[in-house]
Symmetry: C2
Subunit: 121 residues, 2 copies
DNA sequence: CAGTATCCACCGGGATACTG
DNA sequence: CAGTATCCCGGTGGATACTG
């Protein structure tokens, strides 16, 4: 198994149970990182606008509270998907960006979107 | 936007905010379907072995209880990702399979796995 | 074997108020 | 503006016992 495996190689290894035999599912950490009601939408907003300020995120994500936005961003930052840039100005300004690791999730979003367009009426 | 869009088309539309302007995020329903602690692993086991019996699933998924396995399977079935085949035998036998809709999630798993191999140490 | 039926603990997440 | 500090509710999911 290698990071450049083709889709056919992947499908074959899944069928043979090779990935699980290794004992370490490579998908679990990502699932944990995306866990939580708002993580996905925050990342999605960052794909649209990067960098983006705290207030912009809050305005764009309908229904999110300060508390949840702040805590979600802190977790995404801890997981290395998002970086935080603080400017020491008055009034304060903080900008959030995707890291390379975070940007690399776009192909995952792409496949999910294709699936959605095909199977969700 | 169409289901056969290329990755570059997708990236462009995201950047332009076209998908959100439409108001209907095509990823949300999928995220809801995969919500829950065990859904992903159940689907993964089905990719490895299909069809698979209730007891096999329970044996392969470490720590899952009867309750959670049964309720998760019912939800996956309701969402059209998994189908349930009941044989009226003694002792009872029930086999679970991925539907076409469920099988079509493999490319999503593939991208997540590639990401994992590249970014998870 | 393949589930239900209950009961219950925990914590994710909402609401509100406050602050550097 | 960009957050914390509390408080609290509801629902997810765990444990256990039971059944066609």
């Amino acid at each position: 198994m290698h990071k450049d495996m083709t889709y056919d190689e992947y499908r074959h290894e899944v069928k043979e149970g090779i990935l699980t035999e290794a004992g370490n599912c490579p998908v679990t950490p990502l699932l944990l990182m995306l866990q939580g009601k708002w993580k996905f939408q925050i990342l999605y907003e960052l794909f649209i606008q990067d960098p983006i300020r705290f207030g912009e995120l809050k305005k764009n994500i309908n229904g999110i509270t300060n508390t949840m936005l702040a805590s979600s961003l802190r977790e995404l930052e801890k997981d290395g998907l998002v970086s935080r840039m603080q400017f020491n100005e008055i009034p304060p300004r903080v900008e959030y960006s995707l890291t390379e690791k975070g940007q690399a999730l776009l192909p995952v979003f792409y496949e999910m979107t294709k699936w959605g367009f095909q199977y969700i009426p």
